[in-house]
Amino acid sequence: MLRFVVRRLLLLIPILFGVSVLLFFWVRALPGSPAESLLGERATPALVAAYKERFGLNEPIWRQYVTYMETTVADRDLGISVATHRQVTDEIRQRFPATVELALAAMLFSVSLGIPLGFIAAKRYGGPIDHGSLFLSLIGISVPIFVLAILLKYIFAVRLGWLPSVGRIDLLIFDAKHPTNFYVLDAILTRDWSTLWDVLKHLILPAVALGSIPLAIIARITRSAVLDVQNEDYVRTARAKGMSPGIVDRRHVLRNALLPVTTVIGLQTGLLLSGAILTETVFAYPGMGSWLRDAIFNRDYPVLQGGILFLALVFVLVNLVVDVAYAVINPRIRYSG
């Protein structure tokens, strides 16, 4: 097991190196440069040319990559954003917690609803609940996420006025403390319950929008996994022994059915990050997704390189954790090599 983890961690290095090379060349292949993006209508050709000359943007690309790696390693940071002039690392510290909070809330929503839904659907196989949940899950994966987000916002924020439509927190709470930038955690740490309630309210709509597709998928996977497990020999044996149905369900069916579900939950990291780009845009939510989207439009080279590299690292690590968790839950799997 330890060997497996170490091996996977070592594998991280070539993957991250690959991503960084890929990113660097991609960013340089984008048409235009930050010069034009900064100057806007006021960018005259002379100004742009002087700018490029000055910052080595006319150098050969491999030379620029070497320079980039040198400065990154020498300064131990990811550079300064073209758009905000802040350290990319500072911005990640501010925005990553926002996205993590959103993603966890979405995950919580989809898991806590998806697993029971899938389980009940399988138990009531062929009945109205089964049909209903299948129907819901089909809709879930057929509606584009931004449509759902716009819809939820329009109904629950604009028309009904039940929930807020933008951001992470009511701005009138300007005295709230944010030691970790995880606003939910901050509110709990400072025992500021009214702020906690406000922050949670801001999470509901984006989390539901973002969690809809995972919800559908988790419900479907749980359903088919439970159906499979139910017909396994050990379950039949347990039943034949006269064990109570509740215990059989808990000890044998659900536990074994959850194995494939864990894998799927791990796979959702990428999906959530993709979805976050659209959801955060609709709800003006200050997280990584909307940040990277803007960075692409602004040709914000340092943000793109640093931000995506960071996300790739997180993504790979999460998958590693999921794999390890999977091995722990399922002793039949041995990661020998």
Binding site: Y51, L134, F135, V166
Partner: protein, 558 residues
């Protein structure tokens, strides 16, 4: 398995119809205003400021904030482009046209307690003049370069001879500024937030004059521009969370005891037009800028909201790259002018908030000429001109438009483009489409003259002078228009140096006539941008150049 799939179809239909239900249900609940303390205003713009040293930024979102923290020597009277005293109570020009004397307001202090006096004024002028290294980059000091041309020691060949010569403090409250040459736009341009007065002690203390370039980007090193901007303005920076809010609090020692009227101003970035209006509807913000025309009706239709207008101080136009055949033929350019259905575009996509432009500057500005050649939509005439010029019809041309942008003068470029394309095709042109993201691809190509024959773009004025419009466009080399006209160039140079206002006006009027005869492009709209507010927000004056002051704003009862 039966039934379900049918059910799921019905569900899909229902999901989409929900939008309809919600949209047409009328406002069931107008959303309660958050339990706001009545002394705080929450306002939404489109994005965060870049940073808060006004001498080193050039974008409207930064100026929106710096205008509250800092003040200039002169300013516009609220809601107009009329110059009025600000930190200078009066000023005069010597006979040579190059020496300006500013009499300063007494008893004013910067937020850090430093006295505002003639020495502070000179310190600011000298700071700009002495900028070196990374500070001479256009991304840092664009406006300084535009008005003052150069620095004490220019480090870049594109810079010119500096306009500024010296500044002398005479006693405590009189500053004498000497220029190297006569310049008409000098005083009007001082309203720009880029030329506002900053505390010399705070700038030294928080490292305002340290900057660097890394990864090709200018960035201030000290904390001044991020956490400690220090001016004389009615508000001071309290806290800035990128992507979330800029919080400003009242300056208790402001020189005008009646202002500001609110304890706090919170400015938050919401980039999406619809999202901004929705936040206004839900009461999450009390006012928004950049209200797009299709959404004006939504705000009007809400009994708790109101629409304010920003005076038209912009021009939307179609550039013609006249060096590219067939556009080098004046007859083809005239065919373009007759073939663009400008009236239809203005009527359809500006919600009644624009007028057709007949010149490259707004009618409110001195120097505007009413008697320029006017072109109204006439497809027959256009076809005839094309036949005379021997280009088709159909005459094949490239026409470009930008994506991912909404400008006050061009709220929906795509809509304008589609209608123009249709009207040009009706007038004997064969139009090839190219679109690009506004930043940076589109603007670069248009400005460098590497875009299509025709391109959609526009301009919002920075200060109230004709020089800021037609001077910017047509004086000297302008690849955007590829217009080489010696007579026009001479006229504009003379006008810039003329300090007699009556003579200047005559020169600019003549320039406008020349331009519309020669058609380096076709102006099509002066828009009146809209802002949305809760009705209880009062005392808000909209500035033509887009930098509104919050010091007069207060919240009334519901």
């Amino acid at each position: 398995m039966r039934g379900i799939k049918l059910l799921s179809m019905a569900g899909a239909v229902a999901a989409c119809l929900l939008v309809a239900g919600a949209a047409t249900a009328g406002s069931r609940s107008e959303a309660s205003p958050s339990g706001a303390a009545p002394s705080t205003l929450i306002y939404a713009g489109a994005s965060d400021p870049t940073y808060l040293d006004p001498a080193l930024v050039s974008d409207g979102e930064s100026f929106r904030v710096t205008k509250q923290i800092f003040e200039s020597l002169v300013d516009f009277a609220p809601g107009t482009t009329r110059l009025v005293p600000a930190l200078a109570t009066s000023w005069s020009v010597a006979k040579n046209g190059r020496t300006y004397t500013f009499n300063l307001r007494g008893g004013v202090r910067f937020h850090d307690g430093t006295a505002f006096n003639a020495a502070a004024v000179c310190a600011n002028f000298n700071r700009w003049f002495n900028f070196s290294g990374p500070f001479q980059d256009a991304s840092a000091t664009l406006y300084y370069q535009k008005i003052f041309s150069g620095y004490r020691r220019n480090e870049n060949a594109t810079l010119g001879k500096p306009l500024y010569q010296s500044c002398r403090a005479v006693g405590g409250l009189k500053a004498v500024v000497k220029l190297t040459r006569k310049n008409g736009p000098f005083v009007p341009s001082l309203v720009l937030s880029a030329f506002s007065m900053q505390s010399p002690t705070a700038m030294a203390k928080y490292g305002a004059n340290q900057g660097t370039i890394r990864n090709g980007v200018f960035a201030p090193i000290g904390t001044y521009a991020f956490r400690n901007p220090t001016g004389t303005g009615p508000y001071m920076l309290e806290k800035w969370t990128v992507g979330e809010s800029v919080i400003l609090k009242k300056n208790p020692r402001y020189w005008n005891k009646k202002q500001p009227r609110l304890a706090r101003i919170i400015i938050r970035p919401i980039s999406d037009n619809t999202a901004r209006v929705q936040a206004l509807q839900t009461g999450e913000v009390f006012g928004i800028d950049l209200l797009s025309p299709p959404l004006v009706a939504t705000v009007r239709g809400n009994s708790r909201l109101k629409v304010l207008s920003r005076p038209a101080f912009n021009v939307a136009y179609v550039t013609i790259q006249s060096a590219k055949p067939p556009m080098n033929d004046i007859r083809v350019r005239r065919a373009v002018a007759y073939g663009l259905n400008r009236q239809l575009v203005v009527n359809s996509f500006y919600a009644g908030r624009a007028q057709v432009a007949h010149a490259f500057m707004p009618p409110s500005l001195p120097g505007y000429a009413k008697d320029v050649v006017k072109y109204s939509f006439n497809p027959t005439r256009a076809r005839q001109l094309l036949r005379e010029a021997g280009c088709g019809p159909p005459c094949k041309i490239e026409f470009w438009y930008p994506t991912g942008i909404s400008r006050p003068y061009m709220p929906d470029p795509k809509a304008n483009y589609e209608a123009f394309k249709a009207s040009l095709e009706q007038s004997g042109f064969d139009v090839q489409t190219t679109s690009m993201p506004w930043r940076p691809d589109y603007v670069k190509n248009v400005n460098q003259g590497t875009a299509g024959h025709l391109n959609l773009i526009g301009w919002t004025g920075d200060y109230a002078d004709a020089d800021n419009f037609i001077g910017t466009f047509f004086q000297g080399d302008s690849p955007q228009f590829q217009e080489k006209n010696a007579a026009l160039d001479k006229l504009l140079n003379a006008a810039e140096q003329e300090v007699n206002q009556a003579k200047r006006i005559k020169m600019y009027q003549q320039a406008n006539r020349l331009i519309m005869q020669n058609l380096p492009g076709v102006p099509y709209a002066h828009s009146t941008p809209a802002l949305g507010f809760q009705k209880r927000v009062q005392g808000y004056y909209t500035s033509p150049i887009g930098t509104d002051l919050f010091k007069t704003v207060f919240l009334g009862g519901q």
